[in-house]
């Protein structure tokens, strides 16, 4: 049962939608047209519906619409109402076109009207000619109108100079000129000048004031619409852009009779305004009015700018002061620099503050008190430098130099501030900053100094040992001592040498004496004593001769000693033979008497030989 009722309701809704759609009608009047014709398309409905959405009228020009109309009718006590939306369309090309139905919302449902068929046909030749003529006339009319507008509505730009230095301000004034009788519906800026290559400052004109001005016999209404200060930033030819305005002007258009006379419109413009014969129609024209562009020649500043020059051009003054002249270490003090005057003030950078000593200097803050006047930027800039002195002392804030190019004298001028004094007193110890302290020192930071010494120590106000007499004596003494020692040694050696010389000179004598006593022993037949004596004589002679002790001479080393004294082999051999014989004789005491005699003779000859050969 329930299902059935829902079905019925749904059906009823659908039915009512269908009924409404039939009531929503679209009608085209007429539905057969030629190209260029106008016709109406209207959509109407009998019920109160909303949210009308028109179809697209592709292929047609919409000339007007939608215009809405509502009708209410009382027929036989019954109210019937209808709403219609009407469009005026223009056929633009031939062919068959279908305009889709419009949509509406009724009782929450979307309903659509029927579509209409339009047949657009080729126009006749006469009609085409007429249309072309009309178009031509319209074009002509437009052209004329724009000429008229351009003649009577102008924007001029005026610069006060065209040959300037970089940074020298140029005042550009844009002025509007219009004929007092020109009926301007709307005038709006189309393109605002960009002014590339300039730093510009717009002068605030306030409300636009109109005035009257006579330009070559013609009176115009004028208004200054823009005034800009231009500070050229580049060298060369710079262009001051045009200012474009979009103007909507209403002009009176002549009647058809007048139009024929147009070919000779000598005073056409006057006709526009003073046509008393023909009431004519009014027509609105839209055009863009442009100001001419102007070139400005920008020269470079003369050479020879001082190092302190920072592109300031104009006329300036600089002064500086401190907000307080005495401050505790660690507290801030403000150093203010004021640059005042006129010129490219706003382009100036903060001058560099070059402080020596233990200061913390912060980036300057700038306050701008400049005004744009009709010819320049004037006023002052104040730079605030916050300085925090770190240590007590008497400090100087060095003068700050500021160079600018004076346009009046065409010369660079340098002004400087006064040198300022800053008295810094002892600050709070806690704020004392320690920089450049190494690790080792950090340990010491919180350490206190050692206590005083309780003994006086030695008085050092006396001569030092260094370079004193005793010092010099002790330092130099070793040298003479050493020399004395060496002298003593030399003397000693000399003595020894003398002794050996003596021995050498006496060697033969002693040997001969011994030989003599040996001979005595030989004669007395004491052979043992004889050999001993002869041995002593030879050995003693050799020892004396070579300054050697007898005990140090042996049969073995005598050979070497003799050779070292440059004795010949032969001699050495005889000496050794003799020594051997002596030795032999010593141990053979019962030797023959003759042998001992020859031994004696040999000993004598050897000794004399040695004496002679070893001189």
């Amino acid at each position: 049962m329930r299902k059935v009722s829902i079905f019925i309701i749904l059906f009823a809704v659908l039915l009512s939608g269908k009924l409404s759609a039939e009531n929503f009608r679209a009608v085209a009047q007429p539905d057969v047209v030629t190209v260029g014709d106008r016709f109406q398309v209207s959509f109407s409905i009998d019920v109160d519906a909303g949210n009308f959405k028109a179809p697209s009228f592709a292929g047609f020009n919409v000339l007007a619409g939608p215009s809405t109309s509502q009708n209410m009718q009382w027929v036989n006590g019954q109210v019937s109402r209808s709403i219609s939306w009407t469009y005026v369309l223009e056929a633009t090309k031939e062919g068959n076109f279908k305009i889709d139905g419009a949509t509406l919302t009724y009782n929450g449902n979307k309903i659509q009207s029927n579509s209409v068929q339009i047949s657009v046909q080729k126009p006749s030749q006469a009609r085409l000619d007429q249309m072309n003529q009309q178009k031509q006339a319209e074009k002509e009319q437009n052209k004329q109108a724009i000429n008229i507008i351009n003649d009577n509505l102008k924007i001029k730009v005026n610069v006060d100079k065209t040959n300037v230095y970089v940074g020298e301000p140029v005042v550009a004034t844009y002025k509007l000129y219009m004929h007092p009788q020109l009926q301007i519906l709307q005038l709006s800026p189309d393109k605002i000048p960009q002014l590339n290559g300039f730093w510009n400052q717009e002068y605030n004109l306030g409300e636009v004031k109109y005035g009257l001005e006579n330009v070559s016999g013609q009176t115009f209404r004028t208004a200054t619409i823009k005034k800009v200060l231009l500070f050229p930033q580049q060298i060369g030819k710079l262009k001051v852009d045009s200012y474009d305005f979009k103007a909507n002007v209403r002009l009176q258009v002549q009647g058809s009779r007048r139009q024929r006379r147009n070919d000779a419109f000598g005073n056409f413009f006057d006709d526009f305004f003073n046509d008393s014969f023909f009431g004519g129609n009014y027509k609105d024209f839209e055009t863009v009015v442009k100001s001419p562009t102007i070139e400005i020649n920008v020269k470079d500043l003369p050479a020879g700018a001082p190092a302190t020059f920072t592109n300031a051009v104009g006329k300036f003054q600089i002064n500086s002061w401190l907000d307080k002249n005495a401050v505790r270490a660690g507290e801030a003090v403000t150093y203010k620099v004021k640059i005042s005057g006129s010129g490219n003030l706003k382009l100036l950078d903060a001058p560099k503050l070059d402080l020596q000593g233990n200061f913390e200097v912060y980036e300057p803050k700038m306050s701008d008190n400049t005004q744009i006047t009709s010819s320049n930027v004037q006023g002052d800039l104040i730079f605030d430098y916050i300085i925090i002195p770190q240590a007590k002392g008497e400090y100087k804030i060095p003068p700050m130099e500021f160079t600018f190019f004076d346009l009046a004298t065409k010369k660079y001028e340098t002004h400087s501030t006064d040198e300022l004094q800053l008295q810094v007193t002892e600050g709070d110890n806690k704020s004392f900053t320690i920089s450049g302290v190494n690790k080792e020192d950090v340990k010491l930071l919180n350490q206190d100094i050692d206590f005083i010494m309780t003994d006086m120590g030695e008085n050092k106000n006396t001569e030092t040992f260094y370079m004193s007499g005793i010092f010099l004596l002790l330092a130099v003494l070793p040298l003479p001592l050493l020399i004395l020692f060496l002298l003593w040694r030399r003397k000693q050696k000399e003595n020894e040498e003398n002794q050996s010389l003596y021995r050498r000179s006496k060697a033969r004598k002693i040997a001969q004496q011994r030989l003599k006593s040996a001979k005595m022993f030989l004669l007395s037949k004491e052979y043992a004593k004889f050999t001993e004596e002869i041995n002593r004589a030879i050995w003693g002679f050799l020892a004396d001769k070579f300054s050697i002790q007898v005990s140090k001479l042996t049969r073995d080393n005598i050979d070497g000693i003799l050779k070292s004294k440059k004795a010949s082999e032969e001699l050495v051999a005889t000496v050794i033979e003799l020594l051997d014989k002596c030795e032999f004789a010593r141990y053979a005491p019962n030797a023959v008497d003759d042998n001992l005699h020859t031994l004696y003779d040999e000993a004598e000859t050897v000794i004399s030989d040695l004496e002679v050969k070893l001189k």
Partner: protein
Amino acid sequence: MKKIFLLFILNILIQNFTFASDEINANEAFRKANNAYMKEDFKGAALLYQDIIKNGFVSANVYYNLGNCQFRLKNYGKAILNFEKAKRLAPSDESINLNLKIANLKIVDKIKPLPEFFLFSYLNGIAKSHETDTFSWWGILFIWIAVIFVGFLIVSNKAFLKKVSFGFVLLFFLIAASSFYLAYQSNHFLKETNEGIILTPSVYVKSSPDSEALDAFILHEGTKFMIIDNLGHWTKIKIANGNIGWIDKETFQEI
């Protein structure tokens, strides 16, 4: 004749006596100064120590104590000056070195010294570590030892002994020569090198001896520098980082 002799004796006695009494006065003043220091009357103590020095008694300890007084009075420049003076007289004293280091932390300028050839800085370090007389005695001692070895060298007649003695002679002569060099250096630091300490809170060091000259740099109280030259009331100085400039004689005191 007798009278003259008596007068001579008397004169010597008086001289000795006055000398002794000076010593006593100095001791007395030193004791008083120490008491004042302990009672935290640093100003009074400083005056007494200064009197002791003015009266001709100069010792590392008196300068050191005076430095301590100035440190307590927060006159760090003067404290450093006196510690430096004490250090010259007793270069290896630990208390003096410690207090000087602490005082140097209190001053503003932290100047990074120029790097020096390591051998020179090493030798200078040694030269500054002891008193001149210590080095002098070392020199004397070693030159005598060297001479004794020269004797050995002459007397000995064996090749080996000669070689050994020659080695010792060379060694000890070298040691003696270095000792004398160190003594010379140490004395140079003490007497001939002029150093100064800035005593005013801040000084602009000028690039030439003229008050109108450009400021080269700024120095603060307590900074040590070397004196290179003097001209009128201007002094040419060189700081540890090698910078050179002129300052007024009023602004510093020599060590």
